[in-house]
């Protein structure tokens, strides 16, 4: 698995540099003081998605599966590494933001923003959710087809969420919405330990089932 | 040193070419008793031919008593075989000559005429 991670890092050298520049840019110009809770997870998801897709694109471009599967690697190693690198990208992205913000704080910049545990968890959660949706398509269909489908899925999620939000507002009196509201309130009232555990559990559940699905798909693929 | 010239264009199978050439080298004394031959695999590598071809040539050479193969050590030109070979050949020559003499007798060809023919053929062949 180390070899494959090394491979991803080596082939994505240029992209990592671009991402770093982008983060620098974003951190310099953006004022996070109130919007950080949305902005940082958003940035993490976008950058992680970009790296994930780039790595899959480069694998596809080189038709490298023939080589990778001829090496002493198992198909499940390849799948596992893709999930592992997802977290790796997300963590690197958050870490870079943290470093830039620390520098800003040290320079007593007025817009310096401190990363909270909650934002960190939300970012990781959002990135893993994105990967858990994307990878099964990728491992089932290959890069080209999965790209189309994942685009459709993400747009649906994006516009769908605002649609759902509008729907919720409209029917705020219905018992289902009431119950949902209570659930949200309950989550909000949880202690840090409680919400951390819950988030990690969700991450584990999503990525775990997504991984199992991807593995099954990839096992059946032919090259 | 063993020099072999292999032709791919020849109708003669390659193992046969190797066989004939090594035999000639041994009979003419260019390879002496006890001398090591290259291994089957080294020879195949140098001539860039099949291992099966060199193996077959060596097996044939061994069967005819030209070489000895010691497992794990390699193949060597058999000692004493030059004399043995000469004797074998001499026996064949005697047989054929006897046949020729018989034919000559039945045709009424005399000894002196026969000797004349023999020396004529011998010199011609040389």
């Amino acid at each position: 698995m180390f070899s494959l991670l090394l491979k991803d890092v080596l082939i994505l050298k240029k992209q990592f540099l671009l991402v770093l520049l982008f983060i620098l840019f974003a951190n310099y110009f953006m004022v996070f003081s109130t919007s950080g809770i949305v902005f940082i997870p958003g940035l993490t998801v976008v950058l992680t998605y970009a790296l994930v897709v780039q790595s899959c694109l480069l694998d596809d471009k080189a038709n490298s599966e023939l080589i990778l599967l001829s090496l002493p690697l198992l198909r499940r190693d390849i799948v596992r590494t893709k999930y592992f690198s997802l977290f790796f990208y997300a963590l690197s992205s958050i870490l870079s933001t943290l470093i830039f913000q620390l520098i800003k704080a040290l320079l007593s910049h007025p817009t310096a923003f401190s990363l909270t545990w909650g934002i960190f968890l939300t970012s990781i959660f959002a990135a893993s959710l994105m990967g858990s949706v994307y990878y099964p398509f990728y491992f089932r269909l290959g890069y080209v087809k999965s790209r189309i489908i994942s685009t459709v899925v993400f747009f649906t999620l994006f516009f769908g969420s605002s649609f759902v939000a509008g729907l919720l507002n409209h029917h705020s009196q219905s018992p289902v919405i009431q119950a949902l509201g209570k659930a949200v309130q309950w989550l909000h009232d949880l202690s840090t330990l409680g919400s951390t555990t819950l988030t990690l559990l969700f991450i584990l559940l999503f990525t775990g089932s997504s991984y199992l699905l991807s593995r099954r798909f990839y096992q059946r693929r032919e090259f | 040193m063993m020099h072999l010239t292999i032709s791919n264009a020849s109708e003669e199978p390659i193992y046969q070419q190797i066989l004939t050439q090594i035999k000639t080298l041994i009979i003419q004394g260019e390879m002496s008793g006890g001398e090591a031959l290259p291994s089957i695999r080294a020879l195949a590598k140098d001539l860039q031919i099949s291992v099966i071809t060199t193996k077959r040539a060596y097996e044939e050479l061994e069967r005819e008593g030209f070489i000895d193969t010691v497992p794990g050590k390699g193949s060597f030109v058999a000692v004493q075989n030059r004399e043995l070979l000469r004797e074998q050949r001499l026996r064949v020559v005697e047989e054929k000559l006897a046949l020729a003499v018989n034919l000559a007798r039945s045709a009424g060809i005399g000894l002196s005429e026969l000797q004349e023919i023999l020396s004529l053929i011998y010199e011609e062949e040389d």
Binding site: L10, L71, L73 | N8, A44, I49, S50, V51, I52
Partner: protein, 288 residues
């Protein structure tokens, strides 16, 4: 010694092509040529062996092991060269080699460096800057640097000049000096194999034509040339295939001795090459 590779009744069906009950085996210390026209199923067979495709039925054993249970251990001992570049073009040779090296348990850096030198490959060059011949050599250097016991080459020589092809042959025959190693070499350019190969496995249209010692094949098969009038109905069964013109015919017989017995001195016998054998087998008697 047990076989390095055993393929038994291997079958795989695609919508437009099927590989049917292919069987052959390869012992250590030998080079096997895997021949057949384009589309005969050579790549499919090799991909099934490498488990890039899933077989429908049949058996594959590599180093005596079942690849379904010992995939990693088996691939650790296989070196491969494919007919196209499948490397990351943007990487340098060195970086690509580093990735691959970290996968093998017996990687030998010195061996690899010496092959790079021997092939005049620049380690700091990007892969996309290499010609196809250089890429093949790079592939070969990787395949030879981890003590692989089985070398699988899929059309490595197509599109290469005779000089590089000859170099490859030299390397393979040097490799064969080690009697523990074996090579499976697929190609449709049979001249590469005419000399060096020990065994030939010939497939056509997804079916096995033969898998035998090359010497045996070349000794039995012959080209026969003669007057078209000699191609009587009884004689026709002697031939695998033939080509007929106004002036005469050339045909391939799988049994030289039998043909000589029946046709005798009325025809001319010539040595058949692997190319002849492939050509007449594929063409058959269709165009008479």
């Amino acid at each position: 010694m047990p076989n390095i590779l055993e393929v038994e009744n291997l079958s795989k069906t695609f919508p437009r092509f099927s590989l049917q009950k292919i069987s052959f085996s390869l012992a250590p210390g030998y080079i096997m040529g895997f021949i057949g026209p384009n589309g005969a199923g050579k790549s499919t067979t090799l991909k099934l062996i490498m488990h890039l495709l899933h077989k429908d039925s049949g058996q594959i054993k590599i180093f005596g092991l079942d690849p379904q249970h010992y995939e990693r251990q088996i691939k650790d001992r296989i070196g491969f060269v494919y007919d196209e570049n499948h490397f990351y073009e943007e990487l340098t040779l060195k970086a690509m080699a580093r990735i691959m090296a970290s996968c093998y348990s017996h990687w030998e850096p010195q061996t690899f460096t010496s092959y790079l030198e021997q092939f005049s490959l620049p380690p700091k060059e990007k892969i996309k800057k290499l010609s196809w011949g250089m890429q093949m050599k790079f592939s070969l250097a990787l395949a030879l640097s981890h003590q692989a016991e089985l070398l699988i080459l899929d059309e490595p020589t197509s599109g290469l000049d005779p000089i590089i092809r000859h170099e490859l042959i030299e390397i393979l025959s040097a490799l064969r000096e080690d009697e523990k190693k074996a090579v499976l070499f697929s190609t449709h350019i049979t001249t590469d194999l005419e000399q060096i190969a020990d065994y030939i496995t010939f497939i056509h249209d997804g079916q096995l034509v033969f898998s035998r010692a090359k010497d045996d094949i070349l000794e039995r098969y012959a080209l026969v040339k003669g007057d078209p009038g000699l191609l009587t109905r009884e004689n026709q069964s002697l031939f695998t295939g033939w080509n007929q013109t106004r002036y005469g015919f050339t045909g391939l017989v799988p049994d030289r001795a039998q043909a000589r017995l029946l046709l005798g001195n009325r025809v001319l016998f010539e040595k058949a090459t692997l190319d002849d054998i492939m050509l007449y087998t594929v063409r058959g008697k269709a165009h008479v």
